[in-house]
């Protein structure tokens, strides 16, 4: 360009600098405007505020499975019998896609309470097994009918396309028989 020649001898000119600065500021400005638009799509304050669910465990009898809604998805709660716990612990050493001992699937001293997000880790369907008469899969846990994933008595994936065990959410025992799902358990004092 003719004006560039008038300004320098091949080096950078004041105009080049201003142009660069101007363009950079424009990019920053557009970014500053784009961010609120993008961030507004994240969960809003009222959505986040409704993100814990309190459950009374007292009415749940041994061997019974109950579903509650937490953050829009079902949470499976099972009051496990000693036989079920034994069956889950027995498989701890067996090879599986996402190895995890049963002790890590429940809170300390509360082996009878299995609490898991009831969403298949394959593509998000709700596995069967909560209702009497449901198919429970080859391992007597849960069975996802969408693509055939089998979960065991500890909610661990044993067979089928799902890559991970049913996730255990954060939950805290408020009393011996009440939990708040969505809150981290209190660390015992060291």
């Amino acid at each position: 360009m003719a004006d560039a020649e008038a300004h320098g001898h091949g080096g950078e000119t004041r105009r080049d600098f201003i142009l660069l600065l101007g363009n950079a500021m424009a990019v920053v400005g557009v970014g500053a405007l784009a961010w609120p638009l993008i961030d507004s799509l994240s969960p809003a304050a009222d959505t986040k505020a409704a993100s814990t669910t309190e459950v009374d465990l007292a009415p749940i009898k041994a061997g019974q499975r109950v579903s509650v809604k937490w953050r829009g998805s079902p949470v499976f709660i099972e009051h496990r019998t000693p036989e079920t716990i034994a069956r889950a612990v027995k498989d701890d050493k067996v090879s599986m896609p996402d190895p995890q001992p049963d002790a890590e699937r429940h809170q300390e001293g509360k082996a009878q309470w299995l609490v898991m997000v009831g969403v298949c880790t394959h593509l998000g369907c709700i596995p069967l097994g909560q209702n009497t008469g449901d198919k429970r899969g080859d391992y007597g846990g849960w069975f996802c009918p969408c693509h055939g994933s089998h979960y065991d008595a500890s909610g661990r994936i044993r067979k089928g396309p799902a890559p991970k065990n049913l996730p255990v959410p954060d939950y805290r025992f408020v009393t011996d028989t009440r939990i708040v799902i969505g809150e981290k358990p209190k660390k015992p004092a060291a």
Binding site: M1, G22, P36, L37, S40, L41, S42, A44, A45, D46
Partner: protein, 415 residues
């Protein structure tokens, strides 16, 4: 000017260009020969265009948070302001953006009136502009209804009732617009749909507006034709830079409203949820509709036409008559700088429109009613009688020979 080749160089660009002439299209915009004497009043077209884009982008995101239901609309807007991340910013940008859009467009229109932008060969550019203005008004009105406050509801009621003034079929048309016996859920739902649709129609008309403009080329403050390439400069970088500077100032003013006075142009009554059983004692439209509202209320019975119908005709007529302006003003001189009488009439019209605005904001009683009637009469007198007469009797000042001439030889003016 620049030594840019007409055909793009790299092979992939040539390949694309032969199939989709996108590069020559961009090049056309860069090199668009623009008169070199444009003043800052020529900024407002691009400002309006950028505002339209910002409105569409913010509107699309707001639509993701809004619920078009009579029971939830008001609360969903409050939720946007309180709970949605940066929702306060988006709502404020969009609501005040409507007003900023009208500021830009009104200045753009009055620029056109002053500099004769409606005259040959730019009549179609002008007409597309009027269509854009009408679409904008419909869009702004329907957008104002969406928050479903008291002002929203009664604006919807009053404006849809305008159509009931039409003889014979008026009542049926109004019922059809409502989709019920009054403004209700079906009305809100269809207004939401149309409020989303119309901006994209506006984009389409804007494309035709610019297409026509780029065929006949831009006007300029002297109102004379471009005589030689010496009279023009390429749009880029000269006017892109000037437009960007103007945009910076415009966005600063917009930001003052967004961040420091988000409700400055709103009405407190719109924070009362819509109540179909109670009309607020004093209802007014947003400021940008006030002059038209004044015309609506000022018009009395005219001959065999009752005041209701006459008011509606006058209000719509005040915009529709602009379509005929290219013929109403038969003067060959475009710029008011060279038309001493027209220039005075122009400024009186500006004052008249502002007076009408104040009339629209006040109740139609006492002195305000008389002022409204006088100002309305003057508005129509200006366009229908004064402008045609001035065009015939006025002696324009001598025009400069070319755009470059007054710069090169300021002292010499050739008649």
């Amino acid at each position: 000017m620049s030594a840019m080749p007409t055909t793009p160089q790299p092979r992939w660009m040539r390949w694309v260009e032969q199939r989709l002439p996108i590069f020559s299209f961009v090049q056309h915009f860069n090199e668009y020969p623009t008169p070199k004497n444009l003043n800052y009043f020529w900024n407002f077209g691009s400002l309006a265009g950028i505002t339209l884009v910002i409105m569409i982008v913010s509107g699309i995101v707001l639509a993701m948070h809004y619920t078009p239901h009579v029971d939830y609309a008001f609360d969903s807007v409050e939720r946007i302001r309180r709970d949605v991340n940066h929702g306060w910013l988006l709502r404020s940008m969009h609501a005040n953006g409507g007003a900023m859009f009208f500021i830009a467009v009104y200045i753009h229109v009055f620029r056109g009136l002053y500099y004769g932008s409606y005259k040959a060969p730019r009549e179609i550019v002008w007409w597309m502009g009027i269509i854009i203005l009408l679409l904008m008004m419909a869009t702004a009105f329907m957008g104002y209804v969406l928050p479903w406050g008291q002002m929203s509801f009664w604006a919807a009621k009053v404006i849809t009732n305008l159509f009931s003034a039409i003889p014979l079929v008026g009542e049926d048309i109004t019922t059809w617009l409502w989709g019920g016996f009054t403004v209700d859920q079906p009305t809100l739902n269809r207004f939401y749909s149309l409020h989303y649709l119309l901006p994209f129609i506006i984009v389409g008309v804007v494309v035709v507006h610019i297409w026509s403009l780029h065929t006949v080329k831009s006007g300029n403050p002297l109102g004379i034709d471009v005589k030689s390439p010496k009279d023009t400069i390429p749009f880029h970088p000269y006017y892109t830079v000037k437009d960007m500077f103007g945009l910076g100032v415009f966005l600063l003013i917009w930001s003052i409203f967004v961040f420091f006075a988000p409700d400055f142009m709103g009405h407190p009554d719109n924070y009362i949820p819509a109540d179909s059983q109670v009309t607020p004692p004093h209802i007014v439209p947003e400021w940008y509709f006030l002059p038209f509202y004044a015309i609506l209320r000022a018009t009395p019975d005219i001959l065999f036409i009752n005041a209701k119908l006459a008011g509606v005709i006058a209000m719509f007529g005040s915009i529709l008559l602009l379509f005929f302006l290219p013929w109403l003003d038969s003067s060959k001189v475009r710029s008011a700088n060279y038309r001493p009488a027209y220039r005075v009439a122009f400024w009186i019209l500006v004052v008249d429109c502002i007076v009408l605005g104040f009339c629209g904001a006040n109740p139609p009683e006492g002195a305000w009613l008389h002022i409204s009637r006088a100002a309305t009469a003057w508005y129509f007198f200006h366009f229908l009688i004064l402008v045609p007469i001035i065009a015939r009797v006025e002696t324009p000042k001598p025009l400069p020979f070319s755009i470059s001439e007054p710069v090169v030889k300021p002292a010499v003016a050739r008649a």
